[in-house]
């Protein structure tokens, strides 16, 4: 029995993609001083946006994509990680996670009160 439905599943996927993004931001920060390292990005919301208007089931098939950022300028050692930028991205990402988590939670609470307040 899938009590959360497709919408709930989509929220879980959004949270999972946000965690993945956090992992790669973390890797960028870890490699901030490594010569030649190019930073990575994770795309998911944009990919979903491209499929907007379709059924939720189609949206559920979208997978997050890890891309290498070759466009951002590198320093003298070939490393293009900007600590301030990564820190900002980390904060934004964390807030997005809180947002998805809150939406998911209130959805579950709604379903729960529908189930238990039956009198």
């Amino acid at each position: 029995m899938d009590i959360q439905g497709d919408r709930g599943q989509l929220l879980v996927k959004l949270m999972a993609a946000t965690s993945l993004r956090d992992r790669w931001i973390s890797n960028n920060i870890a490699n901030q001083n490594v010569p030649g390292y190019q930073r990575r990005d994770v795309r998911f919301e944009e990919l979903l946006h491209e499929k907007l208007g379709r059924h939720e089931a189609d949206l559920l098939e979208v997978q997050p994509e890890v891309t290498v950022d070759t466009a951002s300028p590198s320093g003298s050692n070939g490393n293009n990680v900007n600590l301030e930028l990564e820190t900002t991205k980390a904060r934004e990402n964390r807030l997005m996670f809180e947002l998805y988590a809150s939406i998911f939670q209130s959805r579950m609470e709604l379903i729960q009160s529908a189930i238990t307040s039956s009198r």
Partner: protein, 118 residues
């Protein structure tokens, strides 16, 4: 120096042991439930209610099993994200509550009918 997180720690093996014990305990519960559900219905007119009751109990049991599968998946390393685990736990919890409510409704209706017959 920083150790690899979780490697060789006592806490990790304690968690894995606890999950295994939980899985074993619910297996025993499952067996007992099977024995109870195997009882034959007594009279023809009551059969429908008893079957529905049995069905309700089976669903409750099924939801508990889902929770154990999750524990197994965590041990096996198939789950890589906290949000997935938590969402699945919540869903199992709600499905369980739902199945329980359904069962309660059937029990209430059964009692109501039995009262009428007297």
């Amino acid at each position: 120096m920083i150790d690899r997180i979780g490697q060789g720690s006592l806490a990790k093996s304690a968690i894995e042991a606890a999950l295994k014990r939980q899985a074993e305990a619910s297996q025993r519960l499952d067996q007992r439930a099977g024995e109870l559900l195997g009882a034959k219905p007594e009279a023809g007119e009551v059969q429908g209610f008893q079957n529905s009751l049995a069905q309700g109990l089976r669903e409750v049991d099924g939801q508990v099993k889902l929770g154990d599968q999750l524990a197994q998946q965590v041990i096996e390393g198939k789950v890589s994200d906290f949000a997935e685990v938590a969402a699945q736990l919540k869903q199992t919890d709600l499905a369980f509550k739902f199945a329980l409510e359904v069962r309660n409704k059937f029990v209430d209706a059964y009692r109501e009918v039995m009262r009428m017959n007297v």
